[in-house]
Symmetry: C2
Subunit: 158 residues, 2 copies
DNA sequence: AACAGATGATCCGACTTTCAATCACCTGGT
DNA sequence: ACCAGGTGATTGAAAGTCGGATCATCTGTT
């Protein structure tokens, strides 16, 4: 009863797997070599830099970066040790914690950004025509939306 | 001097990131819940199942699955404990080891395959038109080729 | 005001990945 | 035949990740 994938479809699927793994890997290594940051670290810094006051609640940050809370907690620990991020108590909810980008964090981000962008261009944007890249983006947007919408319902009682 | 990404390009890039992370995550979870396999495990079983004699040299398997050797070694350890894969000495090169799919491994793969294919359809193939999916595949093939071709030269002496 | 239950974040232990070191074996030049 | 250097694979320790348990705090109901 299973509708298997056609040979063509399999080819596309495998290309997709290969591209995603290799690209993630390459960009992460380049960033690490040049600035000691993983893609994950970089993502966090970017999100914080875009937030008002360069600060974000831990849970918000976790959502933005698609990380689990526990993972983000550890990751912020590390960033804190490296003085890229600082934790602050939350104004109106004493349970909460804000992650705040430090001056140094901002500086590192400013340095690292060109490396990152150059990587994205070299290994992605510049390899495709505008049309192809747009098609890729559009397809991914459809997938991402679907996956977000059908997120696990977590639990359900009668 | 950095040529930053346009707003459109950023949008596409972020959609790409989101889609790849979420899809990998979802498929892996579904497979794990239903059959106790990660995507990584599954990939290995598939590759072995396609190889002549359902066996492959460790290094070949590592290449196919885009894993480092040491990672593959550990992963095969686990699969071996689960009796999905077995190691055999290599005929003509006594350094080498073959990973061989066990009967049980084959059975598990046969059971898991429909789950996996269903996931790929539900979360990817069926969400896009044939044209869109083909475009995605083609773009990814270009990226993957480029990334493979420009793999690290490993080392370089004068 | 008091409580039950929800929410934010961290912590813990089990598991996975990585990096560098190691070991065994093969190959080519002398 | 020997040895130097290369290759195939594994290992161990350190770092990272995950899910579930825990703790503190908030919110709505009575």
């Amino acid at each position: 009863m299973t509708r298997w994938l056609s040979v063509e479809q399999q080819k596309h699927w495998r290309a997709y797997i290969a591209a995603t793994v290799l690209l993630q890997d390459r960009l992460s290594r380049e960033l690490q070599a040049a600035h000691g940051l993983t893609m994950g670290d970089y993502e966090i810094l970017v999100r914080l830099s875009e937030a008002p006051g360069r600060a974000l609640r831990m849970s918000q940050l976790a959502e933005h970066t698609l990380a689990s809370r526990s993972r983000l907690s550890h990751q912020v620990d590390r960033l804190e040790k490296a003085d890229l991020v600082r934790r602050e108590a939350c104004e109106h909810d004493r349970r909460g914690a804000n992650a705040v980008l430090t001056e140094h964090g901002w500086d590192v981000l400013v340095e690292a950004a060109p490396t990152h962008v150059a990587g994205v261009r070299t290994h992605l944007v510049d390899l495709l025509s505008d049309r192809e890249f747009a098609a890729l983006g559009k397809a991914c947007a459809i997938l991402a939306d679907h996956l977000q919408d059908t997120e696990t319902p977590v639990s359900e009682a009668s």
